[in-house]
């Protein structure tokens, strides 16, 4: 990666964070400053951004006029709140009773092995994260995995590799498409300049 794109990316990240903070600041106005609104506020941030960044905890504590540690204390108690951004394709392995009886833990292990991360973690390229979840409510399809919004029922260890491969192929396809477009554009630009 060239130095220029690296810089671009970090300034891009900075801009993203700034946008997130502004957005949350705006949304906070819809909530009262009473303690009972703490969990609904945290849910709003979690639902919108899929995680709760430390800097947003400070914002929430200012809004409710309570200590940041009190906000963190509550947020860290509940399963719903995450403090790290998930992968682009969050893999949620159902650990409900029916899935357990049908070998849900073996499916989880296969994902951990193929992605080389443990449950609760995200791959270094931020493509995948693995999470155990309570019953997702499709017991008849056990064992079940939810990737993004899609439910994959009747999972088998041998299907794991295929699923991951599918995403990787899709990504490569997108990358090739992007490259092709970039090349076309370059060519067009060059042609235009040539003219």
């Amino acid at each position: 990666m060239s130095k220029k794109t690296h810089l671009d990316e970090s300034s891009n990240l900075f801009a993203q964070e700034e946008a997130m903070l502004n957005d949350i600041r705006c949304r906070l106005k819809d909530y009262s400053a009473e303690r009972r609104d703490l969990i609904p506020i945290l849910q709003m941030i979690q639902e919108k951004y899929a995680y709760i960044a430390p800097i947003t905890i400070q914002m929430v504590s200012d809004h409710l006029n309570i200590g940041a540690c009190e906000v963190y204390s509550v947020a860290s108690f509940y399963n719903q709140f995450k403090f790290n951004p998930p992968g682009k394709h969050p893999v949620k392995v159902c650990m409900g009773t029916a899935c357990h009886v049908k070998g849900g833990d073996i499916i989880l292990e296969n994902f951990e092995r193929k992605l080389e991360i443990k449950e609760g973690k995200t791959t270094p390229d931020r493509e995948f994260s693995i999470e155990r979840v309570a019953c997702v409510g499709c017991c008849a399809l056990a064992p079940v995995v939810v990737i993004g919004e899609t439910v994959h029922g009747n999972m088998a260890p041998s299907k794991v590799e295929g699923l991951i491969l599918g995403f990787q192929i899709e990504k490569e396809k997108q990358a090739r498409l992007k490259e092709k477009q970039a090349r076309l554009k370059e060519k067009r630009d060059a042609d235009e300049n040539g003219n």
């Binding site: 609904p40 409900g96 092995r113 309570a134």
Partner: protein, 639 residues
């Protein structure tokens, strides 16, 4: 006043009736698709799309209606087609994939052939097709709570009203609050959240409690793994719950109510929120309900995923924006609850039973079920059972009838081993208990409990130690960490069970499991800790031989615990020429020797069982044994 209320309600009923009549005037077939979470997960969205496309392609005028869940999860996606012109009654189809949907449109709606191979039965009596209500899965049920689930459109308040909905509320308003409470007391209904406390008594305490601003909370923080009836009811018939809540609030004198529902249930939240606005529009909620002097506001609060918040004091903590840690009782919430106000917290199933009690009277309710546990119970039956799903039965039906007659028994001719009732706080019962009637006290007497109504059927291929470990891992993960016994005690129980399933069990482990379990039950602060050891204690009591096999012989009798089992390929059965097992192995542990023998590298094998599935049934050559030493060793390179 009473007359005005009746008039207001009559008008609502007339409007609803007119609305439903208008809908039924639309020509053509009506297709109802079950679209609760379970249906959607099984592909109901694609099925719906396929129907829409097929109708359009064929140019058929028809309506597609989404309904909730009828509780027949084994059959999802489920579709009911009412096509009067065909001469057939409304037909219930099961496992309707998009392909089948297109075929049904072509064959049934155009050619008039209902495709007998895909249908389960008719939903009305007729002479052509057997009626589903004659099947044991329907006929032996008694539906009060689930009565309209999967039948009516949950997003249309008129559909509920047209089926007699909100008439319980209209009747409640004819009574004084104390009269309602006596009606509930005389019904004998006990709380369906697990503990079985008499609901009428609870309401009475709250009514008598000093303090203004009383509050009613619906506990829909259903967290048991494998129990999903509360979600289904919220998704399939939210108005029945609202009606029950309004009656409760009126009886105890509460001006506000809260639906506390897990955030993992987005569709249930959507349905109940939509139902609240519809009820407000019709004047069934809000200020001076039905023209009376009673005001009620209902809001929705999303639980953030902590099992312990199903405990009422923890639930209140989380509503107040705190960590959901249970508090010592007394004081009880009916005296000092949310914000110190008198608070009634009722489970979804309890509240959903209330409208029917008001409509039919307490004596009617008491005539159902048993003397000490009147009414019905809803179970979500999963695991190794043929017709898994939601079942509502009168209390007192025995376990055998429920599992074998109503739910079709165990698939694949396997032998029944145990049934786990009540989720992580319940217990495992062996076949000796199949005659046990299902009611609060009989199950508690056997060491299990109705709990939230989760029921897992286990067959000979399930390991009881593994199941106990599973539930304990769940409660240990969900322990709030406040009190010593639950925080550290369950951790040690889990460690011991973990060791046993890995073949590292020690002498004295079983005794320690027992004594530690008993002390945790006695010493814990809240219901979570007091019931967490139940799965261990009951499985230890009824399946001690399995525990002993693990500890003493390092053997898992059901061949489940992975450290205690090994796979091998029976060379007498193996076709040798086929490589199905080799291809299926996710870790390349299966090898072929020079003379085409197949072997399993035990050091690499992760015991996922894929090879056993892959091996063609005519060979069936992959064998799982316990202890692992029983697997013959095949050398990789034979010279």
């Amino acid at each position: 006043m009473k007359m005005e209320i009746n008039q207001a309600f009559d008008k609502i009923c007339k409007d609803a009736d007119a609305h439903i009549k208008r809908l039924s005037l639309i020509k053509g077939p009506r297709i109802s698709i079950g679209m609760a979470t379970c249906g959607i997960a099984s592909g109901a969205i694609d099925t719906k799309k396929a129907f829409e496309e097929a109708l359009k392609e064929q140019g058929i005028d028809g309506q597609i209606q989404t309904v909730g869940c009828i509780g027949h999860c084994y059959a999802e996606p489920v579709v009911i087609i009412d096509h009067p012109d065909s001469g057939f009654p409304p037909i219930f189809y099961h496992h309707v994939t998009p392909g089948k949907a297109k075929m049904i449109v072509q064959s049934f709606l155009i050619d008039g052939d209902p495709l007998f191979e895909y249908l389960l039965g008719a939903t009305k009596e007729n002479e052509l097709i057997p009626q589903i209500y004659d099947f044991p899965r329907f006929s032996q049920e008694k539906r009060i709570i689930l009565q309209k689930c999967g039948i009516i459109d949950p997003e249309d308040i008129n559909a509920y009203i047209d089926e007699g909905g909100y008439s319980g509320l209209a009747r409640a308003f004819q009574l004084a609050p104390d009269e309602i409470i006596s009606e509930i007391i005389s019904s004998g209904i006990r709380g369906r959240g697990g503990a079985g406390f008499p609901t009428g008594k609870k309401w009475g305490f709250a009514r008598e409690a000093e303090g203004q601003d009383k509050i009613m909370i619906l506990n829909a923080d259903e967290g048991d793994p494998g129990a999903y009836m509360d979600r289904t009811i919220l998704e399939s018939n939210p108005h029945q719950i609202l009606e029950g809540m309004i009656i409760c609030a009126y009886a105890i004198g509460a001006g506000s109510a809260i639906v506390y529902v897990r955030s993992e249930y987005p569709r249930a939240i959507e349905m109940i929120s939509g139902a609240i606005s519809q009820a407000e529009e019709l004047g069934l909620l809000g200020n001076s309900i039905l023209g009376s002097s009673f005001d009620l506001k209902i809001s929705v609060f999303k639980g953030s995923g902590a099992f312990v918040c199903g405990e009422e004091t923890a639930l209140i903590q989380s509503l107040e924006g705190e960590r959901g840690m249970p508090q010592h009782r007394p004081p009880y919430p009916v005296q000092h609850g949310l914000g110190n106000r008198p608070t009634v917290i009722n489970n979804v199933k309890t509240i959903a039973s209330v409208p029917a009690i008001l409509n039919n009277g307490g004596d009617w309710y008491r005539s159902i079920g048993t003397k000490d546990s009147p009414g019905t119970a809803v179970f979500s039956i999963v695991g190794n059972v043929l017709h898994a799903g939601l079942v509502e039965i009168p209390m007192g039906v025995d376990l055998k009838t429920l599992i074998f007659d109503i739910c079709g028994g165990i698939p694949d001719k396997k032998k029944f081993k145990a049934v786990q009732i009540g989720g992580p706080s319940g217990g495992c019962l062996s076949s000796d208990f199949l005659d046990t009637p299902i009611d609060f006290d009989s199950l508690a007497g056997a060491g299990a409990m109705i709990g939230s109504g989760g029921m897992v059927v286990l067959d000979e291929d399930n390991c009881m130690v593994n199941i106990a470990r599973y539930f304990l891992e769940f409660t240990q993960n969900e322990s709030c960490g406040k009190c010593t016994f639950c925080r550290i005690g369950t951790y040690h129980l889990l460690r011991i069970l973990d060791r046993i399933t890995k073949g590292q069990g020690r002498e004295g482990d079983l005794e320690q499991l027992k004594t530690l379990s008993e002390t945790i039950i006695e010493g814990s602060l809240c219901g979570l800790g007091k019931t967490a050891p139940n799965p261990v204690l009951t499985s230890l009591r009824y399946f001690r031989d399995e525990y002993e096999a693990h500890v003493l012989e390092k053997r898992c009798p059901a061949c489940v615990c992975r450290s205690l089992t090994a796979f091998y390929i029976d060379l007498d059965k193996c076709a040798r020429g086929c490589d199905a097992c080799v291809g299926s192995c996710p870790v390349d542990a299966i090898f072929t020797t020079k003379n085409r023998k197949k072997g399993v590298d035990q050091a690499l094998c992760v015991k996922c069982g894929e090879c056993q599935v892959a091996c063609p049934p005519e060979y069936n050559a992959v064998i799982r044994v316990s202890p692992p030493e029983k697997a013959p060793i095949i050398e990789k390179s034979v010279n």
